[in-house]
Assembly symmetry: C2
Homo-oligomer: 600 residues x 2
C-alpha cells in the first residue's frame, strides 16, 4: 500500500489547520461536510469537489466531519476500500456506513465533546437539517450555517461555463410543452401554485435541455420554477445561446440569472403555495420561501416521478442505444481476448481501447461514469478507476472486471462483465456461478404491482448468502435517459429507503457481486425494463426484460450449480444477444459471438 508523500502530508495538515482556525473564529467545535453541491448531486463539477480537495478522497459519496482534534470520513460499502487506500497514512478515520454498531456521523458527533456544529446550508437538504437539529437538540448541541471552505480554498476551479443545447424531441419523445402541461396538471391536483425544481437532471428532463457542466452527467447547472402561466429557468445567462433562448421562450420559459433564484422565491406572493422535495431542496433555498405555512413537501417530487417512467420513445431509443453499446463492448472483449496473451495490455490501455470502441458509436457523447477497468484484486474495490499510479498489467490468469457505460443522445447505459483471462480455479468458478444465479433469480422474478426494491433485493442476494458471502452495496439502481446513470427512483436494496413501488416502463440495473479484498471482484450487471407480465384475479404482475446485450462468460460458469430454469434464462438471453448484435458485425465477429453465446 502506498502512503502519502511528505509534500502531500504537509499540504493536508495545512488545509485542516486553516479550517480549524476558521472554525475557532466562528465558535464552532465541529464542522460537517457532505460530498455534494447546492443541487444535492452525486456527480459534481470540480468547483464542488470539496472533500476531494480537502482530504484526497476521490469517491462520489461520503461525509467528512472535522473537530479540533479529529477527522472522520463516513463512506458507504461501495467506496470503503477505495477510501482506505486513498487516505492511508492520513489522520482521517474511516467509518463504514450502515455497518453494525458503527455510529452515523451525527451519532458520532452527539458523543463528542462539541457544542456548536457548523455546516453550509447550501449543501444540506432541509429534511436532513431537521433530523440533525432534532438529534443534536437531544444532546444539547446546536447547528449553525457557516460557509468556510471557499475562504481557504485558493485556486478553486470556477463554476463551469459551458453552453446548453436542446435535446431533440425525436430522442425525448415528449416536447417541453407537453411535459410542462403534465406537470401543471399534477400541480393543480396538489393545489400547488408553484413547483421548485432543484435537481439538475429533473430540470434538464423537464425543459429538454442538456449541458456539459458535470463530467459524465450531461446537465447544465441551474434551478427551475414552474408556475401556472410561466416557467422560469435560473442559469448563468451567457450559457444560453440565442437560438436555444428563443425556443425556450416560445414555450413560456423565462431565463433569469442563476443566483436570482433566491430573490425570486423571496418575492412569492402572500398565500401562494410552493411544492418541492424536502430531501432535494437545500436549507438555504427553503429559508428563502416567505410563507412556509404554504409549502407542499413531496418526496419524490413531480418531475422525479414522471422521469422514472420512461415514455415509449425513450424506451425505443434506449433499446437502440444499448445495442450500439453492446457492439462496442463486444468488439472490445474480442480485441482483448485476441491480444491479452501477447502481453503489454494494462488496465489503462484497455480502458483507452474501450473508449475508442465506444466513441465509434453513433450518438455517443461521453462515458456515463469513469469506466471501472479492474484486474484481480483491484476489482474488489467496487468503484476502482485505473490511474498511472496503480495501473496493472493483464496476464492470462484470474478475473478481469469491466463496468462501463455511455451517455448517448438516445440513452444512458451501464453494464458490467467479469471475464476470466485464462483458466480459473474451481472456487472462482463457483463464486462466478453464484453471482450469475443471483442475477438470474432476480431477472426471473414475477412480482405484483406495488412491490418495492426492498422486497426484491433478497432474490439476487440469496444464492450468495447461502455461501456465507455478501456484497456490501445495493443490487440495482434506476438509470436515466441521457441523464444520471444512478437515477432514483427506483432502487433495489435491503434498505427501507428502497421504498418506491416498481411500475411498468421503469429501467433498472441488476448487479449482484462477490468482492474479496486483496483477491478479486466479480459483478454481472445488465439493464432491465419493467414490463407487464400477466393480469389475474390477484392483481397485475410485472417482470424484468433485459435490454443490455453482451455475452456472459460461459467459461467461468459451473453448469452443475445452475437449475434448469436458470440455464434456460441464460440460453434465451444469449440467443437474444446474438440476434440483436449480429446484424452489426462482420463475419469473423459473428463467428466469435456465436461461440460466446452457445447453449449450455
Amino acid at each position: 500500500m502506498e502512503t502519502l508523500n511528505l509534500g502531500k502530508e504537509m499540504e493536508l495538515k495545512k488545509k485542516f489547520r486553516s479550517l480549524r482556525t476558521l472554525m475557532q473564529k466562528k465558535g464552532l467545535s465541529a464542522y460537517i461536510l457532505p460530498n455534494t453541491d447546492p443541487h444535492l448531486s452525486e456527480y459534481k463539477a470540480e468547483h464542488w469537489q470539496i472533500i476531494k480537495w480537502l482530504s484526497g478522497f476521490t469517491g462520489a459519496g461520503g461525509q467528512l466531519v472535522v473537530t479540533q482534534e479529529k477527522v472522520g470520513l463516513w463512506v458507504g460499502g461501495t467506496e470503503s476500500l477505495q477510501a482506505e487506500k486513498e487516505l492511508q497514512g492520513t489522520p482521517i478515520k474511516i467509518f463504514k456506513k450502515g455497518k453494525h454498531k458503527i455510529p452515523t456521523a451525527v451519532e458520532w458527533l452527539c458523543e463528542q465533546d462539541v457544542t456548536k456544529v457548523g455546516y453550509n446550508s447550501k449543501l444540506f437538504s432541509i429534511s436532513t437539517i431537521r433530523e440533525m437539529k432534532n438529534k443534536f437538540s437531544e444532546h444539547n448541541k446546536t447547528l449553525e450555517s457557516h460557509v468556510l471552505l471557499p475562504l481557504i480554498w485558493k485556486n478553486r476551479p470556477p463554476l463551469p461555463p459551458y453552453p446548453i443545447y436542446l435535446h431533440d424531441v425525436k430522442f425525448t419523445g415528449k416536447s417541453t410543452s407537453e411535459k410542462l402541461g403534465e406537470i401543471r396538471e399534477v400541480m393543480h391536483d396538489e393545489q400547488a401554485d408553484h413547483y421548485l425544481l432543484t435537481t439538475l437532471d429533473d430540470i434538464a428532463w423537464t425543459f429538454n435541455i442538456r449541458g456539459h457542466d458535470v463530467k459524465c452527467w450531461p446537465v447544465p447547472i441551474c434551478y427551475g420554477v414552474i408556475s401556472p402561466e410561466k416557467a422560469h429557468l435560473f442559469i448563468k445567462e451567457e450559457k444560453v445561446p440565442n437560438e436555444e433562448k428563443k425556443v425556450l421562450e416560445e414555450v413560456g420559459i423565462e431565463i433569469h440569472p442563476y443566483n436570482s433564484i433566491v430573490t425570486h422565491l423571496k418575492k412569492l406572493g402572500e398565500g401562494e403555495s410552493i411544492l418541492f422535495d424536502p430531501k432535494k431542496t437545500s436549507k438555504w433555498l427553503f429559508d428563502s420561501i416567505p410563507d412556509q405555512s404554504k409549502t407542499i413537501e413531496k418526496t419524490p417530487a413531480i418531475a422525479t416521478k414522471k422521469k422514472a417512467i420512461k415514455n415509449p420513445t425513450e424506451i425505443k431509443n434506449m433499446k437502440k442505444c444499448l445495442i450500439r453499446d453492446g457492439v462496442a463492448l463486444l468488439k472490445f472483449f474480442r480485441w482483448l481476448e485476441t491480444n491479452v496473451t501477447r502481453g503489454e495490455i494494462t488496465e489503462l490501455s484497455a480502458a483507452e481501447k474501450l473508449k475508442e470502441f465506444q466513441e465509434e458509436q453513433e450518438n455517443f457523447v461521453e462515458p456515463s461514469f469513469p469506466s471501472i477497468v479492474a484486474y484481480k484484486e483491484h476489482a474488489a474495490m467496487m468503484h476502482y478507476v485505473p490511474s498511472s499510479k496503480n495501473n496493472s498489467e493483464l496476464k492470462s490468469d484470474g478475473f478481469f472486471l469491466i463496468d462501463s457505460g455511455g451517455q448517448y443522445f438516445d440513452g444512458t447505459t451501464d453494464i458490467t462483465r467479469t471475464i476470466p483471462l485464462g483458466n480459473i480455479s474451481k472456487k472462482k468458478k463457483r463464486e462466478f456461478t453464484l453471482v450469475l444465479k443471483g442475477h438470474i433469480q432476480l431477472a426471473l422474478a414475477k412480482f405484483l404491482k406495488g412491490t418495492k426494491g426492498v422486497n426484491l433485493d433478497i432474490l439476487a442476494r440469496k444464492p450468495i448468502w447461502n455461501a456465507g458471502i455478501d456484497y456490501k452495496c445495493g443490487t440495482g439502481h434506476g438509470v436515466g435517459f441521457f441523464l444520471n446513470v444512478h437515477e432514483n427512483p427506483p432502487g433495489i436494496n435491503q434498505d427501507l429507503s428502497s421504498d418506491t413501488e416498481f411500475e411498468e416502463q421503469m429501467i433498472t440495473t441488476i448487479e449482484p457481486g462477490i468482492y474479496k479484498p486483496g483477491e478479486y471482484g466479480i459483478r454481472i450487471e445488465n439493464m432491465f425494463l419493467t414490463v407487464e407480465d400477466t393480469v389475474t384475479d390477484f392483481g397485475e404482475f410485472m417482470r424484468f426484460e433485459p435490454i443490455s446485450f453482451c455475452p456472459i462468460s460461459i467459461d467461468a460458469i459451473d453448469p452443475k450449480l445452475l437449475t434448469k430454469e436458470e440455464k434456460n434464462w441464460l440460453n434465451n438471453y444469449h440467443e437474444r444477444v446474438f440476434e440483436v448484435l449480429s446484424p452489426y458485425l462482420d463475419k469473423s465477429e459473428k463467428k466469435w459471438l456465436k461461440k460466446k453465446t452457445r447453449k449450455i
Copy 2:
C-alpha cells in the same frame, strides 16, 4: 349468502341513529372508531368489542367511520371476505385496506364534506393522532375527543373481574427482579426516570403475571410504570389475591387502582423524564404527562424488544409445549381420517374434537385464538370460525384447513395444516405444492444479521406469484411465550412496517397460502426459531429452525414441482416429526405417523 333478518336490521339502524344524534349534539360531522381497547390490543375483552356490538362485524381488526349519511368499515386482507359476509345487507361499505387506489379511512374522511371529526382519545395512540391531525389540518378539518359509544351501549358487558396469578420462573426463565433490573439498565442508558408500560402482554411479561381477562390471551387488564426504585402496577385491586400481592411487593412492586394511572402520571415531578412507545400509548394517557418536553419516545419500547428475544428457558419450554401440541394435532388428524368416511363430522364437531385432544395435554390453558376449522370455500376466509349458522358437513372430497393454537403455561402455539379429504384435482395439488414451496423456500433461507421481515417475505411469495396468485396478508408473525399468538416484533410482510431486524432467539411463523374465494383455501404454517447459522468475513448469518411438528400431507403434493433441495427439507422435517412425536404415541399411532412422514 345470508342477509340480515328484519329484527337485526332494525336494531342496527337504531344504534346508528342514536350515535348520529349524539354526534349532532356534539357538533361532530364524523366519528372514527378503531377496533381496540385503551391498551391498543388486538384481542380485547367483550367490554371493548364496540365495532362488533355496533356493526355485527366480528373480526379482530378494522376501523369504522360514521358520518351523518355514510358508514365505512376499513379491513385488512385477512378479514375482508368475513366482513363482506357479516355485513351483507347492511348499508356499511367495506374498504379493503392496502389495496391499490383504495383510500385509507383518513384519506376518505379528507374527501368528505365533514368539518369536525370525533374520536375517543383512549382508543388512539398519540402517534396516530399526530398523523391524523396533520392530515386533517391540510384539509381544514379538526379532530376532537368525545366518548360517545358508552352513552348508547346499554347492557354493555363490564370490565372482566378475574384474579391474576404468578407465572412460575420455571416457565419464564427469568424472575421479575431480573427483568426489572435489565429494564432499569436500559432506562439508565436512555436517561429515562420512568418507563410507562401500556400493552397488556409487556406488563404480564415484565411482572411474570398472567390473567383471564381476555379470551385466548392470558393477560390481566392493567398499566405499569417502572421507576428507579419502585415499580407500579395499576389494576383493580380485588384482582390481586393476597399471596400474589405479597410476592409482587417483595420485589418492589406497588399495587394501585387501575384508573389511578392518570393521577400517577399527573404527579410526575418537574423535569422527570418518562419513556414510552408513542404507537402503543393512548392520546389520553399522553395528555396526563405534565412535562411533555421530557418524554422519550421509543418504538418498540424496552419490554417489547426484550420480550421478542426468547430466553433459553422459554425456548426449551416452547419446544416441549410444541411437541405436546403436535401430539394433540396428530391424534386429531388420525381420528379425522378414520372417521370422515363414515359421515356425520361437521366443522363444529371437528373443532370440538380438536379441543378435546388439546385439553388432554399437560399445561394447556385455552386456545391461543378461535380455531379456524374450515372446509372447502370456508377456508378462503383466512380467519373463518365455524358457528351453528354456517357449519359445513365434511365429505371425502376437497381441502380441509385447520389453523389452531394453544396457550400453555410453557408456551403459545400456532400451526396450520391443509389436508385433502379424498382425492383432489391436479390443479389443487399444484397449488398445494406451490404453497409448500413458498413455505420451504423461506424456511431454507440463510440471512445476514440485520435482515428485516420486509426483505424476507418474497422468498415465500415467489413460487405463488410465479403462478399469478397472491395471498393478501403477511407471511409470518412473532409468537409470544404464553402470551399473544400475534406478537410484534418481528413480522414477515411486504410492508415497510416489517422493519424489525431478525435476531437469534426470536420466534415467528411462516404461513404462505392460496385463497380462492368461493372455492377453497390452502395454508401451511409452522413456527420457527431464528438461530445462528455461520459467521464469516462477511458477517453473521442466521436461519430458521422449525419448532412445530405435524406431518404435511404428502398426498396433496406433486413431487415433480419440488426441487431436490425442497424435497430434502421436507424429508428432514418429516424425519424430525417422527423422532420428536413418536415417544408419546402408541403402536398404532406410531405406524400411522410413519406412513404420514414417509420419504418422498
